[in-house]
C-alpha cells in the first residue's frame, strides 16, 4: 500500500461514524483533563482502559491518541489563564502566556498556542509517515539480541533524561522490571512471586498498576492542599493572532515542529523536554531575549508547537518497533495488547486499518481540537472553576469502578489502592512513577528477548556484541551511563567542596 492510498484508507476508517465519535470523544476528554486540575492524560487513559474492552482496537487507539494530544491543547489554556499548567508539558507556556494574559493579550496567546499546536501536530504526522516505513523495514530484520539491546537503550535514555535523581530513576526501572516478572512464566509455566494467589498468577495488571500510580496517588497528593486557582479576570477577545504576531511566531513554530518531532522519538524525552528546549532555543535566537518571560509570543508559540509535534514523534518507535518511548505510549501499547494486537514492524502490513486509521484520526483530531478550543474557549474557562472538592471524589469513584471492571474482581481494586499508596509514597520521597510503569511494560519484552538470545547463542553473552545493531545500541547505553555517572560524580564532588 503506497502512502497516498494508505492515507485515503485511513480517512475512510476514521470517518466511519463510530471511529469519528471516538476520535472526537478522545480529543474532548483530552482537552478536559488538560484543563482540569488533579488529573493528567496518563491518569485519564488508565481510568478509561477498561472501557475499551468493548471497542474495536482501532476505536480504542484513536480515542487514546486523541486524549494524548488533546491534553496538550487543554494544558496550554490553564497555563495562559491561570498560570498553572494543566499538563506538565505546558509548564513553560506559563512564563510568557500568563504575562500576555495579564497584558490583556490572552486571546492571541490562546490563538497562537492552538494554531501552533495544529501546525506542529500536522508536521509531525507527515514526518511520522516518512520515518515509520524505513524504520519498520529495518526492524523486520531485528532478532531477539537487537530487541533486547534496544529495550536496554530505551531504559538507559529514560534514566539519562530523568527529571530528578539518576539513582532513583534506575531503582524505579529495576522495580518496574521486577513487577513485570510476577505471575506465571510463559517459558516454563513456573509460578513467580505469586504465593498461591490466583489473581497474581495472571501477573500484575497494567490497569490497576497505572490507575493506582497515576490516578489514586495524584488524588492523595492533591488532597493535602490543592493549589488555589485564581483565574485572571480578562476578556478573551481577538483569538486570531495579528499579522505581526504571525511574523514573530513563524520561526518559532517551524523550529518547534522539528524539535518536538525528533525529541518525541527519544525514550523519556517527549513533550515536556521538547517544550523546554524549544523555549531555550527561541530565547537564544531572539533579537530581544529580554522580552522572554514578559509576554513574548514566541515563548508561547515555540513550546506549544513542540509539545504537540512530540506526540507524533512518540508514535514512531511504537508503530515501527513496538517499543513505547514514554508512559503514554506504554499505556497505548497496553490497550492494543489487551485486544491481542502486538505493535511492531508487522503492524503496518497486518493491521493497516489501525496504522493508517490512527494517523488519519490524529489529523482529524487536530482539526477538531482547533474547533473545540477556539470557539469554545469560554466553556473551558468555566470548567477551570470546578472546585477540586467536587472533582476528587469523582476521580476516585471512576478509578474504583474501572479497576473492578477489569475482571469483576475486588482483588484488582485492592491492588490498585495498594499501588495508589505506593505511588503517593514514592512521590513523597522524590521518585518518579513514569520510569517504573514504562519498565513494567517493557519488562516482558526485555526478558523474552534476553532468554531467547541466550538460547540462540547456547549461553554465550557475546551474541549481544557480535551483531552490529545490538552492539551499537549497547555502546550508546554504556556511553550514556558513563556520562550520567560522571556528571553525577562531578555534582556530588562540587557539592562536597562547597559544603
Amino acid at each position: 500500500m503506497d502512502i497516498l492510498s494508505g492515507f485515503l484508507s485511513g480517512f475512510q476508517t476514521v470517518l466511519q461514524p463510530a471511529n469519528f465519535i471516538y476520535c472526537f470523544l478522545g480529543v474532548f476528554i483530552g482537552t478536559l483533563v488538560g484543563v482540569l486540575p488533579g488529573i493528567g492524560p496518563v491518569g485519564a487513559m488508565s481510568i478509561l482502559l477498561p472501557s475499551t474492552f468493548g471497542l474495536s482496537p482501532v476505536s480504542a487507539i484513536i480515542m487514546f491518541a486523541g486524549i494524548y494530544y488533546g491534553a496538550m491543547y487543554g494544558g496550554s489554556t490553564t497555563s495562559i489563564l491561570v498560570n498553572i499548567p494543566g499538563e506538565a508539558a505546558s509548564v513553560v507556556t506559563c512564563l510568557d502566556g500568563y504575562q500576555m494574559a495579564r497584558q490583556g493579550r490572552a486571546g492571541p496567546a490562546l490563538g497562537i498556542a492552538a494554531f501552533g499546536s495544529f501546525i506542529g501536530g500536522t508536521f509531525s504526522l507527515i514526518a511520522l509517515v516518512f520515518l515509520v516505513f524505513p524504520l519498520a523495514r529495518a526492524a523486520l530484520k531485528f532478532g531477539p539480541p537487537e530487541y533486547f539491546s534496544l529495550v536496554c537503550m530505551s531504559m538507559t535514555v529514560l534514566v539519562y533524561l530523568a527529571k530528578g535523581s539518576v539513582l532513583n530513576a534506575v531503582i524505579m526501572v529495576l522495580v518496574g522490571v521486577f513487577l513485570s516478572t510476577v505471575g506465571v512464566d510463559l517459558f516454563s509455566g513456573a509460578q513467580r512471586f505469586t504465593f498461591g494467589s490466583i489473581t497474581l498468577s495472571d501477573g500484575i495488571g497494567l490497569i490497576p498498576l497505572a490507575m493506582g500510580l497515576f490516578g489514586i496517588s495524584e488524588v492523595l497528593t492533591n488532597i493535602e492542599g490543592p493549589v488555589e486557582r485564581i483565574i485572571f479576570k480578562t476578556k478573551i477577545k481577538n483569538l486570531l493572532p495579528t499579522v505581526q504576531d504571525w511574523k514573530k511566531s513563524a520561526g518559532a513554530i517551524t523550529r518547534g515542529s522539528v524539535i518536538g518531532f525528533f525529541l518525541g522519538i527519544l525514550p523519556g524525552a517527549g513533550a515536556l523536554i521538547s517544550s523546554f528546549i524549544s523555549y531555550t532555543v527561541e530565547k537564544k535566537l531572539s533579537r530581544h531575549p529580554e522580552e522572554f518571560g514578559k509576554g513574548a509570543i514566541e515563548g508561547v508559540a515555540g513550546p506549544e508547537t513542540a509539545n504537540n509535534a512530540a506526540t507524533g514523534g512518540a508514535f514512531v518507535p511504537l508503530l515501527a518497533m513496538g517499543i513505547p518511548p514514554n508512559v503514554v505510549m506504554a499505556i497505548l501499547l497496553g490497550a492494543l495488547m489487551i485486544h491481542g494486537i502486538v505493535p511492531g514492524p508487522r503492524l503496518i502490513t497486518q493491521h493497516p486499518e489501525i496504522f493508517w486509521g490512527t494517523i488519519a484520526s490524529m489529523y482529524i483530531g487536530n482539526i477538531a481540537l482547533l474547533l473545540l478550543n477556539l470557539p469554545l474557549i469560554g466553556l473551558w474557562v468555566k470548567l477551570l472553576k470546578v472546585p477540586y472538592r467536587i472533582l476528587m471524589p469523582l476521580i476516585l469513584l471512576f478509578c474504583l469502578i474501572g479497576s473492578y471492571s477489569v475482571n469483576n474482581s475486588v482483588m484488582e481494586v485492592i491492588i490498585m489502592i495498594l499501588f495508589g499508596f505506593v505511588g503517593y509514597t514514592l512521590r513523597k520521597f522524590d521518585y518518579e512513577e513514569a520510569p517504573l510503569v514504562l519498565a513494567f511494560i517493557l519488562g516482558p519484552m526485555l526478558e523474552r528477548n534476553f532468554r531467547q538470545s541466550l538460547i540462540m547463542s547456547d549461553g554465550s553473552l557475546s551474541i549481544f556484541v557480535q551483531r552490529p545493531i545490538s552492539a551499537a545500541a549497547l555502546i550508546i547505553s554504556v556511553l550514556l551511563l558513563v556520562s550520567t555517572g560522571l556528571s553525577f560524580y562531578r555534582k556530588t564532588k562540587d557539592k562536597a567542596i562547597t559544603e
Binding site: I223, E224, I401, V410, E499
Partner: protein
C-alpha cells in the same frame, strides 16, 4: 533519622527478597535460562545500587552531623489515611452490600472529607452520581455486584 534512609532500606530489603525467592524459583544456566534468572539479575542490580545509595547517604550524614536534615515533603497521615481507609472499606464491602449502597456511602464520605459543606448538597450529589454511574456502566456492559441485600441489581 534522615528521611532518605527509609526508601533506601526498603529497596535493600526488597532486593534481598527478590534474590532469595528467585533462587528458589530456579536460575537455570545461561544456555537454558530458568524462570528465576531475570528477577535474580534485577534483584542483584537493585541491591548494588541501593547499597551505593546507602553509602552515599551515610557519608553525607557524617559530613554534616548534627544538622537537621528533613528533605522532601511531609506525609499527611490523617487525611491520606482517611481516604485510603474509605477506599479499602469500599473494596471490602462492595461484594457484600452491592454497588449502589457502597458507592453512595463512599461518595458521601469523600465529598465531606474533600471539604464540601452542607449535608443536603452532599447527599444529593452522591445519590445522583451513584445512579448515573450505575446506569452508564451497566449500559456499557459492566456487571456490578448486587450484594447480600440484592440492592446493587434492582434496576436490572
Amino acid at each position: 533519622m534522615q528521611r532518605s534512609l527509609i526508601p533506601v532500606s526498603f529497596w535493600i530489603l526488597l532486593s534481598l527478597f527478590i534474590l532469595f525467592f528467585s533462587r528458589n524459583i530456579g536460575l537455570g544456566e545461561f544456555r537454558a535460562p530458568g524462570p528465576g534468572l531475570m528477577p535474580f539479575l534485577v534483584g542483584l542490580f537493585l541491591l548494588l545500587i541501593s547499597l551505593y545509595a546507602l553509602v552515599q547517604l551515610l557519608s553525607k550524614r557524617s559530613d554534616r552531623e548534627g544538622a537537621s536534615t528533613r528533605e522532601g515533603s511531609v506525609i499527611h497521615f490523617r487525611k491520606t489515611g482517611l481516604v485510603l481507609f474509605f477506599l479499602i472499606a469500599y473494596a471490602l464491602l462492595l461484594e457484600k452490600i452491592g454497588y449502589l449502597i457502597t458507592a453512595f456511602l463512599i461518595l458521601v464520605f469523600l465529598f465531606r472529607s474533600a471539604g464540601s459543606k452542607g449535608w443536603r448538597f452532599v447527599l444529593i450529589i452522591s445519590g445522583v452520581t451513584t445512579l448515573v454511574t450505575y446506569l452508564f456502566f451497566t449500559y456499557l456492559g459492566l456487571r456490578f455486584p448486587a450484594g447480600y441485600l440484592g440492592m446493587g441489581g434492582f434496576l436490572r
